[in-house]
């Protein structure tokens, strides 16, 4: 099973990297891109019996390690394959 974990900064946290990326896009001509937030993406290959179990395990991993709850939130997708 493959779980995908998306970790993003909480809205209230200032993201200078995202701002810089947005500015760079503007200089490349993409003025229609208003805002950019930069986050992290993890792919976990898990030995699990079901998608639900994989999601639960991934959620634990995210809560304990992959995301810092003070500044980040996360969401999980599981490949049904």
């Amino acid at each position: 099973m493959r779980a995908r974990v998306f970790v993003t900064l909480k809205p209230s946290v200032f993201d200078p990297q995202g701002t810089t990326v947005a500015e760079a896009l503007h200089t490349l001509g993409y003025s229609s891109v208003k805002n950019v937030r930069q986050g992290k993406y993890f792919e976990l290959d898990i030995d699990a019996g079901s998608a639900d179990e994989a999601k639960r395990l991934a959620g634990e991993a995210a809560g304990k390690l992959l995301a810092n709850p003070v500044i980040e939130s996360y969401r999980i997708e599981v490949d049904s394959q």
């Binding site: 200032f14 200078p16 990297q17 390690l65 992959l66 810092n68 500044i71």
Partner: protein
């Protein structure tokens, strides 16, 4: 007085903290490997600077799970003095021993230079020998020293006098220009509620001898000697 300096894989400033305690201060110091489960009778614990686990995932995120950290938590819970320097501060934050988190410097670059910090509170083991408002010239060297906490947490820190060091000018004014990394409220260092665990981003161990540019950092180490010899902050072992 015995200093324990914890060494994580990737710690770099462990030798500097060791040298400051042992050679400059003339005390007993020992390097403790992160897989050890004993602090070997230390009176003070230092989590040094560096790049524990390469700073991979997040600074301090993996080091907080090291076996030794259980002992460090126990030591702190018993009231013992713990100093987290730079990466060590980041480990304390990830371990929940101090509130808040570190973000990348707003300038998006690593910054190595001397800065001035103002001592805000002198009732911690590491500022007991300072004068209130004393300005210290100490170097920083970090890419992620931008302190952040949610507004209610920051309010609580300020209200409880848990902000111990702030970035300031040479004359002690807390201004945006004096802030090298964008930290909220120019926060350079904080303590926990029981005031025995202190974390700061600047490197006092790099400012213990004039030969290397400043000796203003020595007072943090002298403070803990003073505090412990007066019977305060000893860890209940």
């Amino acid at each position: 007085m015995k200093f324990a300096v914890v060494v994580f894989p990737g710690s770099n400033c462990d030798h500097d903290a060791y040298y400051a305690a042992q050679h400059v201060l003339g005390q007993d110091a020992e390097l403790i490997w992160h897989k050890d489960t004993s602090l070997k009778g230390a009176d003070v614990v230092v989590l040094p600077g560096g790049f524990a686990h390469g700073d991979y995932l997040r600074t301090g995120a993996i080091a907080r799970f090291s076996p030794i950290m259980q002992e460090v938590q126990r030591f702190a819970a018993g009231g013992g003095p713990v100093l987290g320097i730079c990466n060590g501060f980041q480990v304390l934050l990830e371990a929940g021993m101090l509130p808040g988190a570190m973000l990348r410097n707003t300038v998006l670059q690593f910054r190595c230079e001397h800065v001035y910090v103002r001592v805000e509170q002198t009732d911690t083991p590491f500022t007991a020998a300072c004068a209130p408002g004393q300005v210290l010239r100490i170097p920083i060297a970090h890419g992620e020293g931008n302190y952040y906490a949610e507004p209610d947490v920051v309010d609580r820190l300020e209200h409880n006098r848990q902000v111990i060091f702030r970035y300031a000018t040479v004359s002690g004014d807390v201004t945006p220009a004096a802030n090298p990394n964008g930290s909220l409220n120019n926060i350079a260092g904080i303590c926990n509620e029981t005031r025995n665990v202190v974390g700061l981003m600047p490197h006092p161990e790099r400012a213990c001898e004039l030969a290397v540019g400043s000796a203003d950092g020595l007072v943090l180490f002298e403070s803990v000697l003073k505090a412990l010899s007066h019977g305060a902050f000893a860890s209940a072992r």
